[in-house]
Symmetry: none
Subunit: 415 residues, 2 copies
């Protein structure tokens, strides 16, 4: 990990986190924001709503870190004890803060209610803390400074934590003038991680400019570059150079960059080229149509989908010849191609995409095992069909089939 001017850790407090009831999204949000300022968080720690645990964790974190951002346990209910633990930790008595009290009244007034007596407890704060006034809620944030170290305490409600982070913490960290850090993510699919890296070559090719992480998932491998520089111009130049080098090796495997999606990029291409698409799905059951229509404006190019689960539907809706199904089976190259051609012709679109496969866990045979899937794409350049074999459970086989289908379409469109 790059040395940072400021060693920062995040301490999350809450039984809902430590019992796995909800994921710790605040840590993710704070970490991402700090990283853009060149502050790499070195550790996340989460503990429950327990006085001793919180105090022990805080003491241990402060042995390592210059700055601790703590979230959770500042609310009005009986299990919100962070404020008391902090007051004892910094041997501070509690006082009433008049400005916080007015803010609490204002918030309840704006909701047309009287302030419940219990809510005034939020205006009790440790005397030694600097108050971080919270315009989005009733719980103020707190800042303690001791021996050059800073402890920020933020409410656990994500919107309030983010508000106080931006208002109080970010300006301070920016004033430290750290280096900027920027990421770029190149998303690939259809090729296993080890094979991908054989095509790319040694990671050392990139490491003079950027750090490299390889992130495999069910739907493909993402390659993440991280660049550090004095400003975003320098980081962008390093990322551009690294991306250019990567594209020289594996450009055809890259389907999206950063927040882009496969379906978004396919949609943008169809829109720009004023082309239309229809989809015939068997084993994916509608997932491809769902993904394509997640894109705003998709009605301009996605005209229709047919989820032809039964053989009868494949014949009646797509005009697949029953003899083809009889001879080759519903899961075959011939039927996938006929489905793609059928939906294209009936919907009158420029392109047709079709999937037929065995999602499992039942329905497999020695000849046609679970996971066997044929995907066909058709257009004025002819019909192309590929065979796949997926090895996951039903839902994941569907997801992989939909991803492979969209990728085959992407490659067809870009040829």
């Amino acid at each position: 990990m790059t040395p940072t001017p400021y060693n920062t850790e995040i301490l999350t407090i809450g039984n809902e986190i430590i019992t796995g009831l909800v994921a710790d999204t605040n840590s993710v949000m704070i970490t991402r924001r700090l990283e853009t300022l060149g502050i790499l968080v070195t550790r996340h720690v989460a503990v429950g709503d327990d006085r001793e645990e919180i105090a022990a964790a805080l003491s241990q974190v402060l042995e390592r870190a210059d700055c601790v951002i703590l979230t959770g346990g500042l609310g009005p209910t009986h299990d919100d004890i962070t404020k008391q633990v902090l007051a004892r930790f910094f041997t501070s008595k509690m006082v009433t803060d008049a400005k916080v009290k007015r803010q609490i009244d204002l918030i309840f007034q704006s909701r047309g209610r009287e302030t419940p007596q219990a809510s005034y407890a939020q205006a009790e704060v440790p005397e030694k803390a600097t108050i971080l006034h919270n315009a989005k809620g009733t719980a103020p944030g707190l800042l303690f400074e001791k021996n050059g170290k800073r402890v920020y305490a933020l409410p656990g409600v994500p919107m309030e934590a983010e508000h106080l982070l931006e208002t109080y913490i970010v300006p301070h960290l920016e004033s430290l003038g750290a280096k900027k850090v920027e990421h770029r993510i190149l998303k690939t699919t259809g090729i296993p991680e080890s094979v991908l890296w054989e095509e790319i070559g040694p990671v050392s090719l990139f490491e003079e400019r950027v750090k490299v992480a390889s992130l495999p998932s069910l739907l493909g491998v993402r390659i993440r570059f991280t660049a550090t520089g004095k400003d975003f111009k320098e980081t962008a130049a390093k990322l551009d150079a690294a991306e250019k080098l990567l594209r020289q090796k594996i450009d055809h495997h890259i389907f999206a960059v950063d927040d882009e999606t496969m379906e978004g990029n396919i949609g943008a291409w169809l829109k720009k080229n004023k082309k239309t698409l229809a989809v015939a799905e068997s084993c994916t059951g509608g997932l491809i149509g769902h993904r394509l229509t997640n894109i705003s404006g998709s009605s301009e190019y996605f005209l229709e989908g047919a989820v032809t689960y039964s053989n009868e539907a494949k014949q009646a809706r797509l005009g697949v010849d029953p003899a083809l199904i009889q001879t080759h089976g519903a899961v075959s190259e011939q039927v996938a191609s006929a489905m793609a051609e059928g939906i294209r012709q009936r919907a009158g679109t420029d392109f047709g995409l079709a999937v037929t496969g065995i999602a499992g866990p039942t329905g497999g045979t020695p000849d046609k095992p679970v996971g066997l899937t044929y995907i066909a794409v058709t257009g004025s350049a002819g019909t192309r069909c590929e065979k796949f074999r997926f090895h996951q459970d039903r839902v994941h086989n569907k997801e992989r089939a939909a991803q492979a289908a969209l990728n085959l379409l992407r490659l067809y469109l870009s040829q």
Copy 2:
């Protein structure tokens, strides 16, 4: 926090976690599973792919905990260093494990590929570790035992981590015989949380038997009961009594229990009653078909879906009268009903379900705002149509519409 016989912490390793690129879902999954065994995890710690950080965190965690479950950094790429750090930490040399090597070859063979040389690195393991054989991937898990403490290392891929947790860790923890903790989740939809609780009454009704949590989400409110007892017979009796009481108040809002899903329960009903279903989707774009076909065996009752995004498709594929669309608009009660009746008749099914709406963010008008959605269900008991208005973004409006459609179908089937 209840004292546990076994003080367990989770240590997550990975730059993707510590930089906020992805949320730490493994910690959530492991924590939840351990809680069912009466093991309350006391701390989550996350660090990056950094040798010194990993070793320091492990050493600190082991000062407190009897058992550490560590995930991440066991893969084949250059930034996967957990195995090396553990070998050094436990002063163990590396050896080749023949069984792991065979497993790696088997996995690549089943994918019809040769094993890339780099993948054999996965078969190199610390000599002092017990190997946790991984049937779902190439990276084995590891178990180190020292001074009565256990360190488990699992791969970061969630499916593989869960597989090794169930196969190796859960059986050991069960043998420790702690007090049992059991949850039951009753899932409702279609009713706001505050209204739901007005119908249920005071939470104190339940609290002599179980703890109660109310968990609102976009797709409905889940009510979670937690019971503690000496064995699962005692916890089940408490949960049964609480569920019975809840069902006396709001039975019709409950669509599923625990791991059951709406689509699973609808499917089970259709299968048992030998009835069939077809679906016509506009704004949901295939999501309803996707959800229905996530259920194994759905081909028995789900015959087909039509994703009729364009008006032409609504006419050609469902026989919707163009005059209806002209007079009332594509997003109307009349068109939703005609779509449901059209798909039922053309597919020859017992039931037809249809959705038409404006997912947004564009396409709304003062008369027909974004989020307006009509859902119709039809069968031998006639056609029923309901109007909804959703207020989320495009993707969430689609998800809410699909949920509302399946719920309307559920209520129709149960009448």
